[in-house]
């Protein structure tokens, strides 16, 4: 069972507020790029190279904004990257505290099972394809649900509103089409 929305919403709002008050607004999707860069640089050390005042890359995206991402690739133990690692640990602790997930739910969520059955291969394929499209879109947009929708709208950023309208304009029809049975 989930927290009542009044308590959950207040708790989530306080977390977003604390992040911006103490450090900076929450964002997640950039860290997928940073991890890609770390993995790429591990197999090809020419991927990121040192310059006089930092790092750059043969990849134009990692090299943009004065090598901001290239620099993070070389120093992954930074605030934003550790933040995302800590999110997974927070999820683990929270899940363990409420007794964990049952076996079926761990591979195929209930709503998916109700509509498409318990087959793992189909679910894993959908999650993989979804992940690809989500992260491609998030990087094109310059942020995701955390950075644009939550942090952006909270700060009254125009870009946050543009992103949110786009995200729901696609997500709602897709969900109405996919999930005809309730669970």
């Amino acid at each position: 069972m989930v927290l009542n929305w009044k308590i959950g919403g207040l708790a989530l709002g306080v977390v977003f507020f604390l992040a911006v008050a103490l450090v900076k607004p929450i964002g997640v999707s950039t860290q997928f790029v940073i991890l890609d860069g770390v993995l790429w640089n591990a197999v090809d050390s020419a991927a990121v190279t040192q310059t006089e005042d930092g790092y750059t890359s043969t990849n134009a995206y990692l090299a943009k904004s004065g090598g901001k991402y290239a620099n993070a690739v070389m120093n992954p133990l930074n605030y934003s990257f550790l933040f995302v690692i800590a999110m997974a640990l927070g999820g683990l602790a929270s899940s363990m505290a409420r007794g964990g997930l049952d076996k079926a739910e761990r591979s195929v969520p209930a709503l998916w099972r109700a509509n498409f059955g318990g087959g793992r291969a189909k679910r894993y394929a959908a999650a993989f394809v979804g992940g690809f499209v989500v992260l491609y879109g998030a990087r094109l947009a310059g942020g995701c649900t955390s950075g644009h929708m939550m942090s952006g709208v909270m700060q009254t950023a125009l870009s946050g509103y543009i992103f949110t309208i786009g995200a729901f304009a696609a997500a709602i029809p897709t969900a109405l089409w996919l999930y005809k049975k309730e669970a």
Partner: protein, 194 residues
């Protein structure tokens, strides 16, 4: 100190996302198919709460305006939003909740993350084409807020006091969270809130 904050705030964020159901594709699917808006009410209340606290704190001088970080507006924001929305509905995960879900023991979330790493890499490879297309060029001033927030370093889309507008919009979101019905489509009694 920053490292400690990353771990504490990150873990708190992950735990809260798990507890509100945001890392559970079933709750995401219910919200997006409009059959149970409990999570929507949670998210809207969170945005309102965050906004009121942040702008209120800034007006009182308790919160450093310099911590604001506004992203640029460009056509690609909308196109990327559409893509994210499609993948979000299909997988039930967005980047942050996918990571949290993997932490809670969901194996499908690991496939989401793998797909996400590949998708991010594909964007890295195709970035020059997007740049050349002009779709990444700023629109409406780029990094702007709806009102003008004093000392934020960001321009305002309008000359309205950004702090006041932030407070008002925050309050409006809180009201919306309360008046939004439990469900918009489908039949039967809504799943109890708790």
């Amino acid at each position: 100190m920053e490292i400690l904050l990353a771990i504490v705030i990150g873990a708190a964020f992950g735990a809260v996302l798990d507890r509100i159901g945001a890392a559970n594709p079933t709750w995401i699917g219910r919200m997006l198919s409009l059959t149970n808006l409990h999570l929507m009410k949670t998210i809207i209340l969170a945005i309102g709460t965050g906004s009121v606290l942040m702008f209120g704190g800034q007006m009182l001088g308790l919160v450093d305006v310099g911590h604001m970080s506004v992203k640029a507006a460009y056509a690609g924001v909308f196109i990327g939003g559409l893509m994210l929305g499609f993948g979000w509905a299909l997988s039930g995960y967005c980047p942050g909740t996918g990571v949290v879900a993997a932490g809670t023991g969901r194996k499908d979330a690991l496939f989401f993350i793998a797909g996400g790493l590949l998708g991010a890499a594909a964007y890295m490879a195709t970035y020059p084409a997007w740049q050349a297309s002009g779709l990444l060029n700023d629109i409406a001033g780029g990094k702007v807020t709806l009102g003008t927030v004093p000392d934020s370093g960001y321009a305002g889309l309008t000359g309205i006091s950004g702090d006041l507008l932030g407070l008002l919009l925050g309050a409006a979101f809180i009201v919306v969270a309360f008046v939004l019905p439990d469900r918009l489509t489908g039949q039967g009694t809504p799943v109890p809130a708790e």
